[in-house]
Amino acid sequence: MSQLSAAVGFGLITASILSIAAVGFTLQFSVTNILNLAYGDIMTACAFAAYLVNRLGVNIWISLVVAALFGAVFSMLLNRFVYFQFVRRGTRLFGMIIVTIAMSLVIQNVLLAIFRPTFFSYHTSPGASYHFGGMIFTASQLGIMGIAVVAMLGVHLISTRTKLGKAMRATATNPGLARSCGIATDQVIDVAWLLSGALCGVAGVVLVLNTATFSEVTGATFLVPVIAAAILGGIGQPYGAMLGALTIGVAGEVAATVISPSYKDVVAFGILILVLLVRPQGILSEVASAKEVAA
């Protein structure tokens, strides 16, 4: 029983990292309709940005802020100078996926060329351990969960309480109609990339805090569970992404304890397939659609 509750606790940590990444991923997709498969590599690039700052003796939490800024600017520029050029020429969804895969390879190989094929770690300590009803967390993990809560709350407030949020939702629902209503959709798209990039940067750093070491492919290997969490919740639905992250994170850790570590991914992705069989649109997409209509 104590191992099971510990596993739930460990699942919450994984879910926190996943939710930051998945919300960033799905937020950008909902507004721009670009399935950005370079997202994992941008996470890695941000982790390297934090690494460079951290090596100068800067605290890892300040380095995380630098990574978030780097991710925001990098993502926005990536859209402006690469993706948007294709969108403007009418490249369709499948074509854009190929473009993002190409960017993924470009980023990965540029990182490889700059940093060489080896592994890197941050100068940081996980801090003291704390026990909560059978769950064990280090100070660093509590920090990660705190960041996730703040990020989710921030996304919620921006989406529901600000004009920007309304503009983003309007652009996501019907960009043409939003434009004709006077919404500056290009600027809204820029902001979506900035927000998504910032979350991507944070996710990259907290992922490395969890794995303790990273290389040029670390983010890319994490992309599949990120996309799975986003799809499970309903692609384009930030709240769905949070729920999807929680499901995949906790299910994987509990499966590793109850069944076998070999079945960690099998169980997590088995749940994804089962849910999508029953609700192909994801867990929350209808709920969100109903709210959009009501609004």
Partner: protein, 433 residues
């Protein structure tokens, strides 16, 4: 996770199929009279020189070139000078099969070869065997543990022997409760059966046996299960990122315990990743790893190393191979083939192949020799010989395998691998199934 990693399934299957078809289409010719050779004899280094495993080829070719230099300086084999050529398999069966076919069809006076590696061995060994070319595979694959290929020889210890070496070392150190934490990939899992059985035979207990999914962001649940089993040692092989995450989370939740790893964990990327995650000093305190043993000392190694360092432009940066077990055994393989030719009185592979085993196990009264020149002179004098190689003593079984010893090394904080212990071939043979 082996350093001679196995390739992907589909390509492998296609390669094997192609090899079988080609072998079936081939013709076999053998006669009672040795073939006559004129000119230089050729040994091939059949290994990846490009692709992900491009480092294998130069390592092999260095051994061949050193052997060829020494043979030629001694006057050659039966009056023939020898040379080494490279054949690039690209580490892929789909490329290796046509490369082998071309090598066999177009290489003049091809009398023997080093390779193939694990990347292409299953696909190409049948083809090369059919062509009657003696080959010294640098593959540890268990598929060749009981090989029936007449022309296949192996001085590289089998991958699954590493598991036994790990068990022997851990037991010697007084560890009795082992946790096996291996990646769920085929190569890592290849070590596990022999590790488990050997540790139990010795009197130890395996308290946890985990196949971990690779490159996860968290292994805390797995770590908790292992901690609950109270092991006093952890056996492992997984990719660097996986073991780094696993051990750093073990450090957080429990504190580190001694770790015994396989040969891939001795590689610099693994040390870099895990050392970065748990601290290099901590890694130095807890780690020991088993790798094929090349003593890098003794008269045969002195002969090899002196010539290697004097090889000039023929071998770039020769000192990097001085202590390389693969380069040393590749050197030994060429020397053994050359001595077998002398023993047979012909470079014809269909005749000298049968003499390969006897040059390293001449039986009672055999003269111990440490170089081609010593061996050739002894054979000419009508003596039986026992060639002790640069990589140490060689003992071939009926399947043409030399089990070999394993060296246990650690990690120093500077990243080097200091010697800790040796597990002899005899220790391993005692516990082999």
């Amino acid at each position: 996770m082996s350093d001679r990693a196995a390739p992907g399934g589909v390509k492998l299957a296609l390669g094997v199929l192609a090899a079988v078809v080609l072998a079936a289409c081939g013709t076999s010719t053998s006669s009672a009279t040795p073939k006559t050779y004129t000119g230089t004899l050729t040994f091939a280094s059949f290994n990846p020189f490009t692709g992900p495993d491009a480092s294998f080829g130069p390592e092999m070719q260095a051994g061949c070139v050193v052997a060829a230099h020494l043979i030629n300086k001694s006057g050659g084999v039966l009056g023939h000078q020898v040379q080494c050529v490279t054949v690039d398999t690209r580490g892929d069966p789909a490329d290796a099969v046509p490369a082998a076919e071309k090598m066999l069809a177009t290489t003049p006076n091809l009398v023997g070869m080093n390779g193939p590696s694990s990347d292409e061995a299953l696909a190409t060994v049948p083809l090369i065997d059919r062509a009657h070319v003696p080959m010294f595979g640098d593959t540890g694959q268990a598929a060749f543990d009981k090989s029936t290929y007449k022309y296949f020889w192996r001085l590289t210890p089998p991958d699954d022997a590493a598991g036994i070496a790990m068990a022997v070392y851990a037991y010697r150190k007084g560890y009795r409760r082992g946790a096996a934490v291996f990646g769920n990939d085929l190569s890592s899992q290849g070590n596990v059966p022999n590790l488990l059985s050997a540790f139990k035979k010795l009197g130890g207990q395996i308290v946890a046996n985990q196949q971990v999914a690779l490159d996860q962001s968290s292994y805390r649940s797995e770590v908790e299960s292992v901690i609950a089993a109270k092991p006093d040692v952890m056996f492992t092989e997984a990719d660097p990122q996986t073991d780094a995450a696993y051990l750093s989370q073990l450090q957080q939740l429990n504190g580190l315990i001694p770790v015994v790893g396989t040969q891939p964990t001795v590689q610099p990327p693994w040390g870099q990743a895990v050392g970065g995650a748990i601290g290099k000093d901590n890694l130095a305190k807890i780690y020991a790893g088993a790798q094929p043993y090349a003593p890098s000392q003794g008269p045969a190694w002195q002969v090899f190393n002196t010539e290697l360092l004097a090889s000039g432009s023929d071998i770039p940066q020769p000192d990097q191979w001085s202590q390389d077990p693969y380069t040393q055994t590749d050197y030994d393989a060429v020397i053994m083939m050359a001595l077998a030719m002398v023993a047979a009185g012909t470079p014809d592979p269909t005749f000298y192949n049968e003499h390969i085993a006897e040059v390293v196990s001449g039986g009672s009264g055999a003269v111990e020799v440490h170089s081609f020149q010593e061996g050739r002179d002894a054979l000419k004098a009508g003596k039986k010989i026992n060639y002790v190689g640069a990589g140490g003593p060689i003992s071939l079984d009926k399947y043409h395998n030399s089990a070999g010893a394993f060296e246990i090394v650690g990690y120093a904080p500077d990243g080097s691998n200091p010697h800790i212990d040796v597990v002899s071939a005899a220790d391993i043979a005692k516990l082999a199934a």
